[in-house]
Structure formats: C-alpha cells, structure tokens
Symmetry: C2
Subunit: 198 residues, 2 copies
DNA sequence: ATCATATTTGACAAATTTGTTAAACAAAAA
DNA sequence: TTTTTGTTTAACAAATTTGTCAAATATGAT
C-alpha cells in the first residue's frame, strides 16, 4: 500500500488547470479532453487520478467553496471594527475576482443544478457574528435602518455583480479592459459610500 | 412555396418550453431530448422547425434580448421623472424575475461563451438618454456624486443579483420560498433608499 | 540488476447526443 | 377521389464524449 506519492505534480497540474478553465475562463462545459490538452497531459490521467469527470468537478467546487469560506471567516472573526471588515472583504473579493472572474457565476450555476453546501455550520456561525455586529453598527447610525439580510444582499450584490457580469457590462458599455479595471478600482469607495451613511 | 402555416402550435410550444427550461428552471444544458420530452413532442421536430439545436438556442436568446431591451426602452423614453423611471424599472425587473429567475444568468453565460449583442444602436441611444437624465438628477442632489456608469452598476447589481443568486442565497440563509418573496418585495424601497439621497 | 510500485499511454468499448432521411399520416385543394 | 402540402414519426448514421484495460515506461528500494 502507498500512503505517499513520489510525484503528484500531474494531479495538481490537472486540478489547477481545471480551476483555471472553470473559474478563470468561464469554460463551464470543458470536456476532459479540453482539460487534458490545456494541462498538457494525457486525457486518461483524469480518470486515473480522479476516477471520473464528475469527481474532478466536485473536488474543484468543494475546494473553491472551502477556500472562499475560510477567507471570509478570517476577516469576519478578526479584531477589526465592522466598517474595516467590510473594506477588507471588498479588497479580498476584488483580488479573488481578478484571478477567477467566473467563480461566483460557477458557484451559482452549480447550486442551480442542485448542489449541496459544504460547511453549513461554519457559515451559520459567521452569519450570527455578522448579524450581531451589524445591529451595533445600525444603532450607531453607521447604516440606514434595515434588516441585516437586506444589508448583506446589498453588499454582496454591489461587490460580486460587476465582477460576475463583467463580459456583459463591458460589451454593453463599450469599455476596454483597462477602463473596466479602473472602474472596479474606483468601486471600493463607491460601495462604501453606498452602504454606509457616515 | 409556403408563406403561411396552418398550425404553428408545435413550433411555439417547443420555443416556449425551451424558454421555460432555460430561463425558468436554469437547465442551461438541456438536451434536445429533454426539451422535446418537456414539450411533449417528438425530438426530431426540433430539427424540423429549427434545423439545429444551436439555432433554437440562438433564437430563444435573441428573443429574450429583444424583449428585455424593448421593456427597458419603453420605460426610459417615457415621460416619467427620473426617480419614477427607476422605480418602474425595479418593478418590471422583479416581475420578469418571478417568471424567469435564471434569465440574467443565462445571458451572462451566453456572453461568456462569446455571444454578440443584438440591437447595439438602440442600447447606445438608451444609455445616452440615461446619462443625460442622470447628470440632472445628480445636480439636483438626488444622487451622490459619482460617474454615471457606477450608478448604473449599482442599480443593476442591487436589482439583479438577489434574483440571479436566489438559490445560493436561499440555501445559505435558510430561507423558504415565502420568506424570500417577502424579502424581494421589501427590496424595492431598500434599493431606492440605497440609490437616492432624498 | 532485480523487483515492486507508481505513473503514463494507446486502443478499445460504451454511452450520449445530434442530425438526416424516408416513410407514414393528416388536412386542405383540385 | 386524387393530389398536394404540411406535419410527425421511427430508424439510422455520425460525432462526441466518457470510462476501462492492458501494456509500456519510469522510479525508487532491495
């Protein structure tokens, strides 16, 4: 029996390539052949390392979910004041979106096709914490009076949508890559001004 | 040569079913067989009426695009004051989203796979008009000072995202259908409060 | 060097999906 | 009725995609 692998470069290579294709280039329907070609390996290796195409998909999806949740948790449970947390979250989100612009979209389409949620408990803990801090911020007059859920929806929407919808926006508004990057950079302040009263 | 058809019920039936599957249920990868089954017709009829699967897809996509643009145009070129136009737009969007929750998402994924835009000219005219009215509203202090493009992004994001992301949100936040409907209803006022200063 | 194990490859089989064709069927026109 | 036109079906062919298997190759340990 072998518990260790001498060279798992290929396995990692395949997984990363799949990640890049899905999240980086939006090729949600990439075939095993396309993935193998892009990774520069034989197609059969995908079956060898991951048993099936679906298994590979699930794995990439799970990893992404975990990563995103950890990232968010580390911000939300930090010692930063509420408003700074949101700023941090925006920064992180845009950074992520720069490398993997289609990730959010992929997550949604996966959920649409009946996908379960991984660490539900962790998410609940985080939401609870958020709700508490949100109440305080609202009392302080930092935020317009509203249900916390509405604030969350506002926040996620303002951050994620322009990233997920980028190709649509760019084409509709005739914006080149450089111009859109600038707009996204400017957005951090815009979002903060939109979310907070003062 | 035949310019008229005695009974185009089947053709319409297929098109509507495809529309429902794509936009209503989010089955973006539905096969011709699935579409035919859902429509209760023989699969070959899809080829008979639309020549190929792709042609059917293109047609449904084009129709949806046209419809959405017409809808928006009729509001934007109406005699309503700026703020009322936005309200109208929100109402229309939510109504649309109720029947076809996955439409926005579908549009984006189509654009991601390199799709052209239909009536570019019409869109440009509309944007120009919007920019003009936006400038006025900003001068009047109705809106925080920002680039019009940022306002548009804010608006579309706040409206469309919670609709497109509904399955994700609902599962994450443990909300049943009724509760989410209520949240969407409440959102109109929230969005207006978020977009406008007074 | 030999052996055992891990990795990679090519060839093949199976499944899925799409598109074509010829024939059956229905309905209106001649 | 016969003909014509339009519609629907079943059977087939082609293409695509996935998964399996045995053989080939590499790599490290003995």
């Amino acid at each position: 029996m072998s518990t260790e692998r001498k060279d798992e470069a290929t396995e990692v290579q395949i997984k990363n390539t799949a990640k890049r294709l899905f999240f980086g280039e939006g090729k949600f329907n990439a075939t095993t052949q396309e993935i193998a070609d892009a990774a520069g390996v034989n197609r059969t290796l995908i079956n060898y390392y991951f048993r099936s195409r679906d298994k590979l998909f699930d794995l990439v999806f799970k990893d992404a979910q975990e990563y995103e949740q950890k990232r968010t948790e580390s911000i939300m449970f930090s010692e930063l004041p509420f408003k700074a947390k949101i700023e941090e979250f925006i920064d992180e989100s845009f950074l992520m979106a720069k490398e993997y612009p289609y990730m959010e979209l992929y997550m949604v389409t996966q959920f649409n096709q009946g996908c379960y949620f991984k660490d539900e408990e962790g998410m609940d803990r985080m939401l609870k914490k958020f709700y508490e801090e949100f109440e305080v911020a609202m009392e302080e007059g930092l935020i317009l009076k509203m249900e916390p859920i509405q604030f969350i929806i506002n926040m996620i929407s303002l951050i994620s949508f322009p990233v997920a919808m980028r190709p649509l926006f760019q084409k509709t508004m005739h914006l080149d890559d450089k111009e859109y990057e600038r707009i996204l950079t400017d957005r951090k302040q815009i979002i903060m001004d939109t979310l907070f009263c003062k």
